[in-house]
Amino acid sequence: MTPLASGVVGPRTLHAEFPRTTDELATLVRDARAARAGLRLAGLGTWLTAGHPVRAARTVSLRAMHGIVSYHPADLTLSCGAGTTLAELDEATRPHGQWCPLAPPGTDLTSTVGATVATASEGPYAAALGRPRSLVLGLECVDGTGRIIAAGGRVVKNVAGFDLTRAMTGAWGTLGAITAVHLRLRARPVVDETWAIRLPSSDRSALEAYVRGPLAPLACVRHQPPNGESGDPSLFLVRLGGNAAFVEASRAALRALGETMPQPPDALDAWRAFDDPPARALSWRWDPIAVRLRDRFDPDRILNPGLLGEPA
């Protein structure tokens, strides 16, 4: 076999290996297992510290497995390599009036699909348009024993067999290294506008009722300043989407709540870039069944050892 490509990944300039195919990755995992040596999994290397140190000498980046493998606009489905960035997905789907509404903390240029799905990271559109766990139709991964698993499928409804897709989504790569993902897309709304709203008091109940009600917006997030300060608790950014009549009614309901100011279309994404990286790993629960799950898919703790603060 030709040697693996290697190089530097991430802002911390880690030396990484870049398998180009799932078979290459499977070989790498099997070799690591035989040597009982852990592998740190990375995409572009921007979310490497999720709260716990990873006990692995080697880093494997899935970045070389990028690109859109198939895209069927009429079905609103798309398959891509794990190393594909969300910006690449946006570029491919936008001309068809579609999008992948995964919007994790960070920017679309540095967020890979694989990392987003592996961490089940979600953004401001999750409630309205779906969480990673409902937008991922299927995936391919290599588990800690070197098995190549092709879970789920490419159709929007599927209950064939036990649900490995759900088990892998949000598992932080500790059950399997995700190499490819099949996604369900959404149509972009006909009317799409973003507003800032300043509430007249610190009472958010009226805003919450609006967000839970029939005129719910695509997203509603609290002001997040770039310098890491706490932000203005009365200032929110709201994105409206739907047909003209719906958005008009939703806008009127929003205006009844406080002073509104129009924003550029990408305002929410600009705020999102300053969000904290995912740190849910800090609160990871290791009950006996979670340990059993890890044991069945990565008995020798090859994949991301230590990332989730696993009990020794």
Binding site: I149, K157, A160, F162, R166, A244, A245
Partner: protein
């Protein structure tokens, strides 16, 4: 529990020898019906102590033979029908597994809420069964399948361990996501907390009338690709229309249509008419000769009655009915439907299609006589060809009814040995002894470890 809730005599056990899938009959050796959650846990622990395999069963409305107990213990859950709590503010309900789906919606109605998953069998099927199968229904196009509405579940694993499972949203594996849809192979639901959905402000229901099934399928693709997300988009073909209109469930469908598309949009009143008008325009552009809008709730209910009772209406055509459940990409519906018609013609069978077109979730149904060996063989052959065709189109073998026993032979067409092996690994996390619903869902020969366990299984009984 009392003797009346434990059945041991063969004549009484024969009642449970089939579910809603004709052609497959397997009788249990014992049937137990716990009446409380404590009794349920005690029964599962007793079964564990005796190392006895068992099958949990709700209302028995499953269409894949998943609830059949082949010479083993049947654990009936229909007595566990308590709605423990409804929290209107949090929009949740906590219920026992035997609660009938439609009764939960009825209980939530005074609060302006409903339980969104609505399988067509919802007047009989139970929440526990819905969870086992990850059931869908006409409205899951917009609202999602059972898994999207389940927040938390207390389950008893086959070894008697009681656990609370959630979606892992606050840091943890998605154990609930793995459990829902595991077809009773991972354990038994003791109670479950589900999300309730606010009733829509407004609903518009349309019926589009086509002279070609292909055109109706194309209209479906156009509507979804246009970015409209209907609450439901259901297609019925000529054979189904004929069965419905000749039955007591007659819905006023045009009898001479090759297909009708039942479309519904709901939600905020604002903008709903625009969506309905767009659907009408797209249907007409796809060749619909007429599109009518239900004028009032009574007309809407009548249109839906035809759809939801279509399977029952087919009872007039023949004594038995196979309801299949494949999925294809929406854009390939038209060509696959053409091929299904050709397969039916080749085998001399009448195939009725009534299905969730918006999801590409096909239900090719064949009315037949299961006592006619020749016809049964032809049905079997046709189903096999239909499944193979759907897989070839990039689809899958079940969208909402589960694999059960019926679709077991197709799993190896769909998944690699490594993937099937990994599915068995997932099962082993919950049920390493494989005593819960043994022999279902994932074919045994793909499981490396299965063969040892198979020797311990009781011999098949029943027919």
């Amino acid at each position: 529990m009392g003797d009346s809730h434990v059945l041991v005599r063969v004549p009484k056990l024969l009642v449970y020898r089939s579910d809603a899938l004709p052609g497959l009959q397997r009788a249990p050796s014992l049937a137990v019906f716990p009446g409380t959650r404590t009794e349920l846990i005690e029964v599962v622990r007793a079964l564990a102590a005796a190392a006895v395999p068992f099958v949990a069963r709700g209302a028995g409305t499953g269409l894949s033979g998943g609830a059949l107990a082949d010479g083993i213990t049947l654990l009936g859950l229909h007595r566990l029908k308590r709605i423990i709590a409804i929290d209107p503010l949090a929009r949740t309900a906590t219920v026992e597994p035997g609660v009938v789906n439609a009764l939960l919606t009825r209980a939530a109605a005074p609060h302006g809420l409903h339980y969104a998953p609505d399988p067509s069998s919802q007047s009989a099927c139970t929440i526990g069964g819905n969870i086992a199968e990850n059931a869908g229904g006409p409205h899951c196009l917009k609202y999602g399948v059972t898994l999207d509405h389940v927040l938390r579940a207390t389950v008893v694993l086959p070894d008697g361990e009681v656990l609370t499972l959630d979606r892992g949203d606050v840091g943890g594996y998605d154990l609930l996501g793995a459990f829902v849809g595991s077809e009773g192979c991972f354990g038994v639901v003791v109670d479950v907390t589900v999300r309730l959905t606010p009733d829509p402000e407004s609903v518009v229901t349309l019926l589009a009338d086509f002279t070609s099934v292909r055109w109706a399928a194309e209209a479906t693709s156009r509507i979804v690709a246009a970015g409209i997300l209907p609450a439901a988009l259901e297609l019925m073909d000529q054979a189904t229309i004929e069965a419905v209109e000749s039955s007591v469930y007659a819905a006023g469908y045009p009898r001479d249509a090759a297909a009708v598309l039942l479309a519904e949009v709901d939600g905020a009143a604002a903008g709903l008419d625009a969506d309905a008008e767009a659907i009408e325009r797209l249907c007409r552009a796809s060749g619909a000769r007429d599109v009518r809008v239900a004028r009032d709730p009574a007309e809407r209910a009548r249109l839906w009655q035809g759809r939801k009772k279509a399977f029952g209406a087919m009872g007039r055509v023949a004594p038995h009915l196979v309801v299949q459940d494949a999925v294809v990409p929406r854009s390939r519906l038209a060509e696959v439907l053409d091929d299904i018609a050709a397969i039916g013609a080749r085998h001399g069978l009448r195939i009725c299609n009534v299905f969730h077109a918006g999801d590409g979730n096909l239900h090719p149904n064949i009315p037949y006589d299961a006592n006619d060996a020749d016809e049964s063989a032809r049905v079997h052959a046709a189903m096999k060809e239909i499944m193979t065709r759907c897989i070839a189109a990039g689809g899958t073998i079940t969208g909402e009814h589960g694999v059960g026993l019926d679709k077991l032979p197709y799993m190896e067409q769909l998944f690699t040995a490594d993937t099937l092996d990994a599915m068995c690994s997932l099962r082993d996390v919950f049920d390493p002894a494989r005593r819960a619903n043994p022999g279902k869902t994932v074919p045994v020969r793909a499981c490396r470890e299965w063969h040892a366990a198979a020797a311990a299984r009781p011999q098949a009984a029943g027919t």
